[in-house]
Amino acid sequence: MRNNSFALKAVNITKKFPETIANEGINFFLEKGEIHALLGENGAGKTTFMNILYGIYMPTEGEIYINNKKVDIKSPLDAINLGIGMIHQHFMLVDSLTVLENVILGLKNQGFVVDKKKIEKRLKEISELYALDVSPDAKIWQLSVGEQQKVEIIKVLFRGADILILDEPTAVLRPQETEPLFDILRKMKNDGKSIIFITHKLDEVMAVADKISVLRKGKLIETVDKSQTTKESLAEMMVGRAVLFDFYKKDKHNKENLLEIHNVSVDSESGIRVVDNVTLNVKKGEILGIAGISGNGQQELVQAVVGFRKVKNGKVVFDGLDITNKSVRFITQKGINYIPADRVGMGLAPNLSCVDNAIMRNYYKKKMSSNFILNYKKAVEYTIKIVDMFNVAVADIFKPIKLLSGGNMQKLLFARELLENPKLLIASYPTRGLDLISTEFVRKQMLKVRDEDMSVILISEDLDEILSISDRIAVMHRGSIVGVVDAKNVDKNTIGLMMGGDRLKDE
């Protein structure tokens, strides 16, 4: 190890909150010119630690050294002045301004008149140096997500950052955009910049990081060189036990259609066509994956199927019954349950108790209530059953559900829909934001119900998930189905290309 070349040293960092200890005795050393991945599940304390480095939180204990000098980072401004730049997961850009204007926005000491020419020249230098090719005059809203991310990186570099913190930078990107981002990171590394890369995706860590620190439950478990570790051992460090990556799928041959979507079109609230003439079938006992970059009509399509949105044209037939534009309740009672992508926004009532949320699908049914009165005793029993069966970590089922972690909320929601024993389960991003154990659990459950001849529509951006679980995969792009492929005979790259709109040649 090259001594004295630490860009950043965080020694014995502890951060206590009234209810929890988010970070405990973390020793983190970042060398100059390295990409250091900070790996951990949700709630492991990654974000807290980053916020400490960026001056949003002050550590309860511990010291931070930048270039071997002890520093006190009291605010993001301090952090910027010390050469620390943060690229947030959600971009901090003004949509209606140009790239150049966005770069100027945060600059200090510009005087009254801004020398645009000078800034533009510097911006071009930075762009060329790191292959961050975006036009300075383009408006932000015209740019793709990947390009917007580049603007964020430029902004940070422009302010003279030598240490870059990227918070789950690939979460918003298409698979094709990930590799170019990694190239940029490597270029910056070769130029002597130090990069902290926060993620929970193991493949990415293995692809780009030099060193990896694993956080679990607020503690830094271990820092390892990439060359001396494997994906499996990292996962074990993250979770505390071995994790299953490949699932065994029974071979099944299903012929009979359970759901038939005939030429369905759906419009958004503002009247724009978001699903255009889609025809799709789901067979009995199969898992149909719908792949696509989010916002390409997947949500709207399934929401139209479950009655949440109007079908503009076309027909939806379920189990031999026309369910086009029937009410949500009618369709659920016929046997379709839906796990929405937006859990807190759509699937749950966050301020109501776990009990109230657990019974959302069956409070009106005979077992839960008479004509008018709701039997809360039964509701509580039912909630306890769900919590026990699905290992939902909950302190008090009468407290608002928003107090649960994202993973536990998802488990409760997933359980609630699954226990209705639907014929078809539609799951939108069921594992998004879940930790590895919960993810594994949810995937296993979907495979289990498939074996019981339940059908599943799985919407996901995670290609590994789609490929490992689905029987067939439909790819959506701009509201249309680009193609439907057999999951056994397709690779990630092909699906990735289809997600970008490329049709299969031999179809």
Partner: protein
């Protein structure tokens, strides 16, 4: 630097102590205002308290003022729980009073008392309900904001009342005053405690609050109301008929406000006039909030506000202060209680 930090959860103790502490602060500020006018604040407060709670008789007057507050607040709690902002209790109260007064004024005075009161009872309910269903329908089918429609309907109700009082419903022998003819005995709610003005209306009020408590916490409808109130999208997703529930809840809320109007004209005023204390409709909005939309809490808050109302009237006379001072005390108290609500969700912290 001082800054606000969001609380994760709110303890029961906090829920009670925050409004209490803020009420005390409000009282202190009120004292300051009274002192500026040159009156001894201690005397005013003491007199105010004694005039509201000092004897059985003054307390009975407090309950008389609390009666319409209880009725209206019960209904408001229901709609506020579902996130529908009915600001129109004022107008619904007036319409309830008008509808029920129709029978008192135009039926023969010797109509049997039970029949007369029954007609007036339903008149009040229906009058208020109609005035609340109109904005509910506008909201549900045309997405018209109910805050605006309910508020504007208040003015329409007031002018309908004025129109009647200066027009065809005016008592020809009232020397031009905008009053109806007095209600016959058959149209007056019976008094349930002798030597007080507490009428059967108080019983209606208690039943209404209990009914709303039962609806919200024990029934399917109440469950749906709570889900809609917390997350309308989730409600729709769960297959709840949001529109139907909004109309039903608004109708209930309006009906109870209308009943309050009926109880006031039939039980207390005994004729219809322009001034029928419709301001209870606005006060109840605050009562509902200070009760944390909890029907049981609203018993306490309604009585407190009833006391402020009735005590305030008395001290005008006994202390020779203008009603403006009473209004001032009331407003400052409200301001601090409502303002302190932020501390329920946030705590103040100090950071270097």
């Amino acid at each position: 630097m001082l800054y606000f930090e969001k609380r994760k959860s709110v303890s029961k103790g906090l829920k009670i102590s925050i409004p209490l502490v803020s009420l005390i602060i409000g009282v202190l500020f009120g004292a300051l205002a009274i002192a500026i006018v040159g009156i001894n604040p201690y005397d005013v407060y003491k007199s105010l308290f004694l005039s509201a709670f000092g004897s059985w008789y003054v307390f009975s007057e407090t309950l008389v003022s609390a009666t319409p507050l209880l009725l209206i607040t019960a209904g408001l709690i229901l709609v506020f729980k579902m996130g529908v902002w009915n600001i129109g209790a004022y107008g619904q109260y007036i319409m309830g009073a008008i509808f029920s007064s129709y029978f008192a004024i135009f039926l023969p005075p010797d109509t049997s008392k039970p029949l007369m009161l029954l007609l007036m009872f339903f008149g009040g309910l229906i009058g208020g309900a109609i005035w609340a269903i109109i904005p509910a329908i506008l909201k549900v089918f045309w997405e018209v904001n109910e805050v605006i429609t309910t508020l504007l309907l208040n003015y329409i109700a007031l002018y309908v009342l004025k129109f009647l009082m200066y027009g065809s419903w005016r008592n020809p022998t009232s020397y031009g005053f905008p009053l109806s003819k007095p209600f016959p005995d058959s149209a007056q709610l019976p008094i349930i405690f002798s030597h007080t003005r507490i009428t059967l209306g108080f019983v209606f009020a208690v039943i209404a609050v209990l009914l709303i408590w039962f609806l919200i916490s024990k029934t399917k409808f109440g469950y749906e109301v709570r889900v809609i109130g917390d997350n309308p999208t989730a409600a729709k997703y769960a297959g709840i008929n949001v529109n139907k529930n909004i109309i039903i809840a608004m109708a209930i809320s309006g009906a109870l406000a209308g009943l309050a109007g009926m109880v006031q004209v039939s039980g207390i005023i005994h004729f219809l006039q322009v001034k029928i204390n419709a301001n209870y409709g606005y006060t109840s909005i605050i009562v509902a909030w200070i009760s944390y939309l909890n029907p049981v809490m609203c018993f306490i808050t309604s009585v407190l506000f009833g006391g402020l109302e009735s005590g305030g009237y008395s001290i005008q006379i006994s202390m020779r202060v203008s009603y403006g001072i009473v209004g001032l005390i009331e407003s400052i108290a409200l301001f601090s209680i409502v303002g302190a609500q932020i501390f329920l969700n946030y705590k103040l912290r100090w950071r270097k």
